[in-house]
Amino acid sequence: MRWARDGHEPAFRELVHRYERPVFSLIYRMVRDRALAEDLAQETFIKVLNALKSYKPEYKFSSWIFKIANNAAIDHLRRRQLDTLSLDGSPTARSPEEMHASAPQLGDVSESPLDEVESRELGGAIERAIGRLRPEYRSCILLRHVEGHSYEEIAQMLDLPLGTVKTYIHRARNELRVYLEDARE
C-alpha cells in the first residue's frame, strides 16, 4: 500500500490484481451486465488509484475500494431506473390505443456470445435469486456473505446505521430463501 502511495507502478499493478476479481464480481452481480460491470470496475480502480495520496490508513483499504465500487453500481442502477421507459407506453397517451402504439416493442432479440456467458454465469438459482433482491439488500448480502465483511464494516462502507444493515441482511436472507423455494417447486 505504502509503495503504491509513493507511486511505484508494480505496486499499483499488484493492487489491481489483488482486487480485480472481488470488485468486478460485486459490480457484476449488482448490474448483471458483463461489459457494463467491466466499465464500472475500471472507473472504480481509476478513482481509487488516482486518489491513493488521500487514502487514510486507519480506514481498511478493502472497505474503501468496495465503498467506491458499490457507489458506482448503485449510481448506475439509479440512473437506469430514471431512464427506463414505461413498458405500458407513453405517460402522455390519451387512450388505450395511444398507450399501445407508444409502448416499446419487445421483438425477438438474438442472444450475443456475451449474453450467453452472462446467462451461464448468472443463470443458477442462487444467482437469479440474488438478482431479484432490491439493490441495497443485494449490496449488503454480497458484502457480508460473499466478501465476508463484518456488519460494522458494511455500515461504514454504505453509510448506513448498523441496525439498518442488520435488518437489510436479515430481510435479504429471508427473501432469498423464499425465492429459492419458489425455484425448486
Binding site: 507511486g7 499493478r13 480485480e20 476479481r21 457484476y28 488509484l49 448480502i141 442488520k166
Partner: protein, 81 residues
Amino acid sequence: MNERLQTHLTPEEVELWATGLLSAARTFHLTECAECLAVAERERKLLVELAQLQRFAPSADFAEKVLAQVRIQTPSGSHHG
C-alpha cells in the same frame, strides 16, 4: 409466552451457529427447540450456497486498461500512465 419461546435464537445467533461460532449454552437451545433447529438448518444451507459463489474474472487486459488511465506519480515527481 413461556421461557423457552423467549429464548429462541435471534437471526444473528442463527448466523453464528451456521458459522460454528455460537456459544455452547445457546447452541444447546437447538436440541430442545425444533422450530429454531429448522430455521437454523435452512439458514445454514443458504449461507453455504452464498459462500460457494464463484468470483468472476474481468477480461484478461483489465489491469492494462486501468493502468493506462491512471496518473502514476513516480518517486521522482514526474507523471506517466
